[in-house]
């Protein structure tokens, strides 16, 4: 999915390749909302990964070494926890995602070699889980801030690819 975006002349030092970067309001919204998630990383992560593997079966190719790829299985739960804990960490590094996620980017680029298109896929499934778990708090305003944040995380993870 390609976005066409308005190029606005500003006097800030913003990196010209930044697309739709996070405003102060976005960051505050994400931090406030994510406080609800802390402590639930395993359940939320498990559900998000389960959905990704079910709804987008092509993503299973990255987990061919697992014994069991069914929703809620032990490896799915463990991986969901790993990924979601990393997202919690990314929230704490929201002011410098590129720097903060450097080693994770190297991992994804050189070792895992996950096609970056899949970051968007996982993000979508995470948003679905958040809508289910927090039906009242996951308002449209929170949704847009979270969507932007996850896109920024994806960009930071893609940094080292080429």
């Amino acid at each position: 999915l390609h976005f066409s975006f308005l190029v606005v002349k500003t006097t800030s030092n913003r990196n010209p390749t930044d697309k739709m970067s996070l405003s102060a309001k976005d960051k505050n919204t994400v931090k406030a909302f994510w406080a609800n998630v802390v402590g639930m990383e395993e359940d939320i992560g498990c559900d998000a990964v389960s959905r990704m593997l079910t709804v987008y079966p092509q993503t299973k190719i990255y987990f061919s070494h697992w014994k069991d790829l069914s929703p809620g299985s032990a490896p799915v739960r463990k991986h969901g926890a790993t990924v979601m804990t990393a997202v919690t960490d990314a929230v704490s590094k929201i002011d410098d995602l590129t720097g903060g996620l450097l080693s994770l980017s190297e991992l994804h680029a050189f070792t895992l070699r996950v096609d970056p298109a899949n970051f968007k896929v996982l993000a979508h499934n995470l948003l679905v889980v958040l809508a289910i778990v927090f039906p009242n708090d996951f308002t449209p305003e929170v949704h847009v801030a979270m969507d932007k944040f996850l896109a920024a995380v994806a960009r930071a993870l893609s940094e080292k690819y080429r």
């Binding site: 709804v55 679905v128 289910i132 305003e141």
Partner: protein
């Protein structure tokens, strides 16, 4: 042609028979206009879309959301021929409304999230897969007549 199992057909039928169109329609369109603000380009005549609150309270947005959601009824009734069913609407969106077909996916993602929020954990991974398959077929059909 798209194949639908009996399970998939009943999942889709159940979702829509329990759907409150007057609630879900507006919510989906409101969410789309807020999360993907460039989609507001098609609604210049709808008045106040200046911020999330204005969009959420805009009666034209609400009415239009209901209308768009009912647009899915034709797919529901013609699941074995969705492509042909939407040919006319596809031409309309291309020739008259000039809607970028990428936007259909954006609205469909918002609808998925709104339905998930409404159904809660009853919106299982399997049901999500079927619902998204259904929407993907509609989205594809709506983009078919663009040239």
């Amino acid at each position: 042609m798209v194949e639908w199992s009996e399970t998939e057909r009943s999942i889709i039928t159940n979702i829509f028979s329990n759907l409150d169109y007057n609630d879900i329609g507006p919510k989906a369109l409101v969410r789309c206009l807020i999360v993907y603000p460039w989609t507001q380009r098609y609604f210049a005549s709808f008045g106040n879309l200046y911020n999330a609150e204005a969009i959420s309270n805009n009666p034209q947005v609400a009415a239009h959301g209901i209308r768009v959601l009912h647009g899915l009824d034709r797919a529901l009734k013609n699941m074995d021929n969705i492509k042909a069913t939407y040919a006319e609407l596809s031409v309309l969106h291309s020739e008259k409304l000039h809607v970028d077909p990428d936007n259909f996916k954006l609205l469909s993602d918002c609808l998925t999230i709104v339905v998930a929020g409404k159904m809660g954990s009853a919106f299982t991974p399997e049901i999500q897969a079927t619902f998204q398959k259904f929407l993907a077929v509609v989205v594809s059909a709506l983009g078919r007549q663009y040239h």
